[in-house]
Structure formats: structure tokens, C-alpha cells
Amino acid sequence: MSMTPTPPTDQAVDLPTDLEPTASLAEEAGVGAGSAAQKAYRPVSRGRLVWRRLRRKPNFWIGAVILALIILFALFGDLLNIYELGEQDPYSFNAKPSGQHFFGTDAIGVDLYASMTEALRKSLLIGFLAAPLATVLAAFIGSLAGYLGGFVETATNWVINLLLVLPVFYVLMIISPLLSSMSWVILVVAIGLFGWMIMAQIVKNQTKSLKEREYVKAARYMGVGTLTILRRHIIPNVASLLIIDATLGVASAILAETSLSYFGLGIQAPDVSLGTLLQDGTSAAVSRPWLFLIPAGFLVTLLTAVALIGDGLRDAIDPTSEVNRA
């Protein structure tokens, strides 16, 4: 069966290429060409379906491989290095990247490679903790407001709009004195607490149409509790949106952390993160560019990888997203 997308033509402009060959449509419906007799009508689970589409997205693979490499580097990169985090090498100040110091050293001889692995660990951890937190909040608040309607919905609308009046960075900046006096875990919580609003709005609107469906009504009239209905019927229906949101949220959480730390409002010494490394590197950006360009390169690569994964996921979960995402 041909998996190659048809060459794009002007006519194909409104169709995602992964739906082009009829053979792949048949495959998606579960009619495997090889063992058609046995599997002919076996329903394909949604997860498998999404995975089938996903593995044909080059963007997803590029992003996933890059992200995996960065995670591996963050976890095991320091095994290659003889310098400890924060250790100073009195014989090489401001050293360029070399076999001795892979990423060079700063003005007091601190090895950048050692700081880099630690910073990546911290930034990745913040991203992967804060983003799911925001998504869970969005799912819970959005679906509850949409399902209950009335006063709860009005109140939620006001809270959401109030939080959206100011750029999120300004809000985080204002509470930063609180954040910097505590551990970085509070920073994670804060980034999560101020990152759910837009997704909650989308979930809320979806829920409002979902709750009119027959199976939801049936469940309600049978006396199933609100939270159970949300868990069983509403949330699974918006799960794909939530997965995309959680993925892209990783990038925005890392970006928020980096921006705050860059201005000295987030991660505080002796902790290091990508933001603090960039801050330290900025003053030397022209004379000793490696101190800035290496952390910047890692940050941009990491965020790009996450964005590519999110883009691939969006196309795979919602095959029409290429044509009618608005």
C-alpha cells in the first residue's frame, strides 16, 4: 500500500495529503490490506488512529528526535564532563569552547557545559510540570463552567477576562517577589496558575455544545453525577485539544520561566536555568559570544522541537485542522 502522499497540486490545496490515497483511508478505517479477512471490521481505537497519522508527519519526527536528544543530553550529558556544576577552573578564564571545556568558561572560569546540563534539566522540569498543571486546570474549570452554565459560567468568564487584560508576563512579574523568596516549585505553580485561561475558554465552548448531545443528556437523566459526566463523557471528547495544549504549553512555560529568570525575577542563584545562563551571557554577548549563543541555541532548538511536535499532533488528532482550523 502506498504511503507516499500524492504530489501537491493546486487541486489538493484544500485536502490534507495524508487523506489523499484511498488506500490510506481504508487503512485508517481498520481494513488492513494484509489480513483483511480477520481484521476486516475490527474497530480501530482512536489512539491507534492518531498514531498512524502522527507517524507520517515529518514535523513530528523532527521535533521528537530533537527533543529526545536534548532530554538525553540534559540527563546524561555531564557524564562526559570532568567538571562539576559551578566548579571553577583557575587556569582558564573566558576560555573558548575546546576539548577541555566543551562550551567554554566564563569570566571566573566556571564550566559552561556543566551549567548547561543542569540548566536544561531545570527548564525542562519546569516546562513538563507547569504545562500539564495548566492543562488540568483548563480542563476542569472550562468543562465545569460550560456544563453548569448560569452563574458559574458568568463568574468564570469574568475571571478569565480579568486575567487576560494584562500580558501574563506582567502578572508573573508582579508576583515575582513572592516567587523569588521561595523555591522554584512555586514558580512552576505560578506559571501553571496563569496559563490556563485561553484553553479553558475553548473547552468551555466545546462543553456547551457537547452537553446537548443525547448520551450526555441520557446520563444526566439517569442521575449520573456532574463530575462523573465530566470525567466520562466531556473530558474524553476534548482530550485531543488538551493534549495539544499540554504540548504547546511546555514551550510557553519554558519561555515564561526563561523570560522571568532573564530579568532576575525567576530562578535565583545558586540555581541555574536557561534564563539565568542567558542573563549571565548577555553582557558578554559581543566579546565572548559562546556564553550567550550556546544557551540561546539550546533554548531556541528546544522550543522549536516542542512547537513541531505540537503541530504534528494537531494535524494527526484533527485531520481537518489543516483546512478548517480557525
Binding site: M173, S176, S259
Partner: protein, 329 residues
């Protein structure tokens, strides 16, 4: 239509006012301006610190809500120059805003407008040439640009400009501050400001355009599949005519909302750029206010930003109504 827009405006205005008050409460709770006067040698007597802080209206010995009330009272009753109180440098916040706003707005508006045009253009272009090499190049470039925070982009541009200046042997691209002090004459000054505007505007515009182009591409793809484009082609309109007159116009409608929503991102992005390029603008004022626990200065910055966003949201509603006849009843 006017009543619709008016209603939206009043709604936004209430939200803006509420948000600003909440910000004042939050800042008064979390900031500790007293620290600025502690630990001095010789130590400042506590009474003096108290009277200084009370003078600014930020004494932490007064309850937060009372201080907030005083702040609102000052806004309502004081004459304009005193409305927002004084910052810790004892300058009137309103005066600071007036002297800094121009610098910020210059960067922000020029950047936002260029970003919008570039974003729309590349988004439409990518959609029309979907999956072709040019679309792929635009797509990947925008992925990378979206992932480049403005402060990283700004510093990279500085490195490039320095290398360029060194290579040519002249200070062709000057990028520190908003202008060079001491230049006289209208045209030289304008020229000088333009040169200083170059790098931060590029950084802001590229970052903004990348986000817009992704969104515009998706919307445009949606429009390209719709029946009215086919109808336009069927009645004999050329491809360009159908795409531009019928396609882009419709695809711009959801964009008008997105512009307003994304304006906040540009505001914080330009605040970063002001710090990087040492512009004495509002963003720099705000970040300095946080670093120095300056409640009044921060509240002033937030007021300014909130009003800016209020205007941009209202403008986007107007734009929406102008583009979409269905709203115009």
C-alpha cells in the same frame, strides 16, 4: 453597530479598571519597599522611613486595602500631574509616563504594524503555495522565529550589528538607547532615531510576524476550500483576483481578533527589547519598578499597558465590524 462597540468598550473598561486595582493590591502585598531604606549605614531612623513611605502612600504598616483606597482616591480627586503618585525616585509617575510613552509607542506601533503586514503576507503566501518548497521554508522559519524570545533575538541582532560595524569600520548601526544625545536639526535627529529603531523593530516585527503567519496560513487554508472562491473562479475572476478580493478579505476577519489578543505578547516583547537596547520606555520602567519594589511606578506602568490593551481590543472590534458585514447591523 455603534452601540455594540460601545457596549464592548464599557465592558473592557470595567475589566481594565478592576485588573489595575487587583494589580495594585497584589503589588502592595508582595512588594517590600521598606527594604530599600533598611540596612543603610548610618541607619535611617524608623520614624523617617515611615514618614517617607507614608508620603509615597506605600507604608507597609497601613493595611493594604486602605492603601489601595487612598490610591484610588488620589486618581479620582488629584489634579492630573499627581494622579498616580510619585515613584521611589520622587518623580511624578504621570510625568514619567508622558516622557517615556513616546519611546515605547514608537517601537511598539511600528513593530506591530510591520509584523501584521508581514504575517498576513507570508501566511497567505504559504497557504496558497501549501506544501511547496516556499511554504515549507516559510513554515520552518516561522517555527524557529516563534521559538526565539525577543530578548534572545535582540541580543543576536546586536552581535550581528557589532560585527557589521567592525567589518565596515564605521558605526553605521547604532543601537544603544533610543537616540544619540547631542544631535541637532530635524532631519539628522529623525535619521538618528530611525537608525536606533532599526534593530529592536526588526526583532519585534519578526517575532510577531512569525506567530501571525502561522495563524493566517491556517485561516487562509480554510477560506481556500470554501465554495465562494470556486464560484468567483467559475464566474471568470482571475486566480489572483479571487484570492485577494474574495479570499484574503474573508481570511482577515478572524485575524482582527487575533491581532488584539496577541498585542499583549508584543507589549511584553517590546518591554524586553527596551531593556536590551537600553531605551527609557515604559517597559523598562515597569521591570525596574519590580526590581526596586516600586509600587506606584508599577501601578502606573500597568495602568498605561491596560489602557493600551483596552484601545487595541476596541480597535479590533471596530476592525471586525468593518470587515464582517454580519456584525454591522
Amino acid at each position: 453597530m455603534t452601540s455594540y462597540i460601545l457596549r464592548r468598550f464599557v465592558n473592557y473598561a470595567i475589566l481594565t479598571a478592576l485588573a489595575t486595582v487587583f494589580v495594585y493590591i497584589a503589588a502592595s502585598t508582595f512588594f517590600y519597599p521598606r527594604r530599600r531604606y533598611l540596612g543603610r549605614n548610618p541607619p535611617i531612623p524608623e520614624d523617617s522611613i515611615d514618614s517617607i513611605l507614608t508620603g509615597y502612600g506605600i507604608n507597609d504598616k497601613d493595611p493594604v486595602l486602605l492603601r489601595t483606597w487612598w490610591w484610588i482616591e488620589r486618581i479620582v480627586t488629584n489634579p492630573l500631574p499627581d494622579k498616580l503618585g510619585h515613584d521611589l525616585g520622587n518623580n511624578a509617575v504621570i510625568a514619567e509616563i508622558f516622557s517615556r510613552a513616546g519611546v515605547s509607542l514608537r517601537l511598539l506601533l511600528v513593530g506591530a504594524i510591520i509584523a501584521a503586514f508581514l504575517g498576513v503576507f507570508f501566511g497567505v503566501w504559504g497557504a496558497v503555495r501549501q506544501y511547496k518548497a516556499s511554504d515549507q521554508i516559510v513554515s520552518y522559519t516561522s517555527f524557529i522565529l516563534i521559538s526565539t524570545p525577543t530578548f534572545v533575538g535582540g541580543v543576536i541582532l546586536q552581535i550581528l550589528a557589532t560585527n557589521f560595524n567592525n567589518a565596515t569600520g564605521h558605526q553605521l548601526i547604532r543601537f544603544t538607547g533610543a537616540y544619540t544625545p547631542g544631535i541637532t536639526g530635524f532631519w539628522p535627529q529623525l535619521m538618528d532615531k530611525g537608525v536606533h529603531l532599526l534593530l529592536p523593530t526588526i526583532a519585534l516585527a519578526l517575532f510577531g510576524a512569525a506567530g501571525y503567519s502561522r495563524y493566517q496560513r491556517a485561516v487562509m487554508l480554510d477560506v481556500l476550500g470554501s465554495d465562494f472562491i470556486r464560484t468567483a473562479r467559475a464566474k471568470g475572476a482571475t486566480r489572483t483576483h479571487a484570492l485577494v478580493k474574495h479570499g484574503v478579505r474573508v481570511a482577515l476577519i478572524p485575524m482582527s481578533t487575533y491581532f488584539a489578543y496577541n498585542f499583549g505578547t508584543l507589549v511584553s516583547g517590546s518591554a524586553f527589547l527596551e531593556i536590551i537596547f537600553s531605551w527609557a520606555g515604559m517597559g523598562q520602567y515597569g521591570i525596574m519598578a519590580v526590581q526596586q519594589s516600586d509600587v506606584n511606578a508599577l501601578a502606573g506602568t500597568v495602568c498605561f499597558t491596560a489602557i493600551l490593551l483596552l484601545i487595541s481590543s476596541t480597535l479590533s472590534e471596530v476592525l471586525y465590524a468593518a470587515l464582517d458585514p454580519r456584525v454591522r447591523v
